[in-house]
Symmetry: C2
Subunit: 335 residues, 2 copies
């Protein structure tokens, strides 16, 4: 390991024959401070010559900001296109010279204080909860302490006390999906999806209304945990039941894939014997057979937009507390 020889702004100042302050003014392009072009040039020359890069830490110390935000996601989000959102956040933050520090929601008691402590110790300037279950008491505490944070999820909770939220309009596509099922000539529908712990899931209700509007027969909403075996058993029982639905709406991609798989195992052909569609985005929608018709979320933009909103909050600017992004139905082959 090579010893690191630090070049400081002092060195640059000496080399350029100016003061440290001038170096700082030039490098930071400070407004209301006029520097003669030749001085400016001299500074840049010295910077180049000495290969100087300002110590980010020293700067942060002065400014009391780390220029990094913590992005929190659930442990279980190990799949799907979540990385897309991360990319959006990264690019959104990069424009303001912020970086992403990745955190995982451990669901442990300590996690909450971990966040607060990251914030108090100036290690992180703000937080983005991306598809993570945020319990109310945590939100309340963050609000209370004035910690800047933002929540990214498929739909907004609405009760954004102090934080901001980025969501999508995916619920409005559910009636449209139901209409598609209807158009394909079927009548019996069912919904399968996750059982949420930390908040109410608006999807089953939206489904129920959409079924009613389209005069379809509702075979029921079936909810269970994210456990793969449990999902498959639930779908299996549903497809084997006497009131077997002809169309299934899956609350998220995972439930959709298992529906496809179980149907295949039972020898049901899609879209011949069964129609299916899912809510949410996944790379696998294009890989599976048949490819899955789904309501796709603007994952990248959700991250990008969220990042910008958080930066605004961190800079004490006034911003919309809620932003809804457009989603769209993408027809593939399962419906």
């Amino acid at each position: 390991m090579k010893k690191k020889i630090r070049v400081s702004s002092k060195d640059v100042a000496r080399e350029a024959g100016v003061s440290q302050a001038t170096v700082s003014y030039v490098l930071n392009n400070v407004e209301h401070v006029k520097i003669r072009p030749e001085t400016r040039q001299a500074v840049w020359d010295a910077v180049k010559k000495l290969n100087y890069s300002p110590s980010h830490i020293a700067r942060g110390m002065k400014l009391k900001r780390s220029m990094s935000v913590g992005v929190i996601t659930d442990r279980s989000v190990t799949n799907y296109n979540f990385m897309k959102t991360l990319q959006g956040i990264k690019e959104g933050l990069a424009r303001f010279n912020y970086t992403i520090t990745l955190l995982f929601n451990t669901q442990e008691e300590t996690f909450h204080s971990e966040i607060i402590s990251y914030y108090n110790s100036n290690r992180l300037d703000g937080f983005i909860f991306a598809f993570a279950a945020v319990e109310d008491y945590i939100r309340n505490d963050l609000n209370l302490k004035g910690v800047p944070y933002l929540i990214i999820d498929s739909h907004v909770s609405g009760q954004s006390g102090g934080g901001c939220e980025v969501g999508t309009d995916h619920l409005i596509h559910i009636p449209g999906l139901a209409a598609l099922f209807k158009e394909r000539g079927i009548s019996r529908m069912a919904y399968v999806g996750p059982l949420l712990r930390h908040r109410e899931d608006p999807k089953p209700r939206a489904y129920k209304e959409a079924v009613k509007i389209n005069h379809l027969v509702d075979c029921g909403s079936y909810l269970c945990s994210f456990d793969d075996d449990e999902i498959r058993k639930m779908v299996h029982d549903l497809l084997m039941s006497p009131k077997r639905p002809q169309g299934i709406l899956a609350g998220n991609p995972r439930f959709g894939f298992h529906t496809l798989r179980v149907a295949a195992e039972l020898g049901l052909r899609i879209p011949g014997d069964l129609l299916a569609a899912s809510l949410g985005t996944s790379a696998f929608h294009d890989f599976c057979y048949p490819p899955m018709t789904a309501v796709e979320l603007p994952l990248f933009d959700m991250g990008y937009t969220g990042a910008e909103m958080l930066v605004d909050i961190m800079q004490d600017k006034d911003v919309d507390r809620i932003r809804i992004l457009p989603s769209e139905i993408v027809l593939r082959g399962s419906l």
Copy 2:
């Protein structure tokens, strides 16, 4: 936004009736410095009372370390179980109080200097390239400048000049997979997989040898880019050709899924008409139909182990430069 009132170690010192130095000694549990238990207690009491958390930035400034490492991954890795590796890295680093800063490989000219600049400005203490294409000139430069870094990939490059590598033994399972194909009673095999740009891919060669050892007929190795349409066209042509293989080994999960999908489109039944297996881990291996037999990688451990190795490097400890982790064949239904 609430104004942040910082409590400094000075405040704690005053409250506890000791000096700032003592506070530092107590909080950092400095060896060879003996503190009377009652003094120690007084400090902790004051810390609790004032709800003090040390400024991470000030500490970093003194120590010239940011306690964060940059994790670089390719833009294209938006799917699969990559998050598992990230979790492993996160947990591995957390033990040493390091955090993850997420970076994406932009493949642009500027990216290289971005890394160097993060390092030079003390913003990041080291780097982990996780399933990212690292070009040789970058590695050389990092070696030259003594930048601590580590590469995580399914197999090691071997030429780890200055950096360290974590890989797997997945190549040794290829003959075993070939033997399984043989056992199932087929004779004609083919390999489909990605065309790598930045390094040689050892998989096609391992495949060729495995085929020979098992006395199977090699219908050839077919390589193309990661483009979905291109992959499907390639697989389609292969399955329609007169020398259609009875078994296909996919170089990675994506190629495996497209093989499944194209086969289904052509009405080929798996495992009846065609056998398939893939190299690598994906959550979809369990979702698709039939579930995919594959060589699974220890994604979490690769991250966890890699994190520990990098910490050792950053602390100038002597470490193995290469670590190979065990992978395993998981039988599902496609073979």
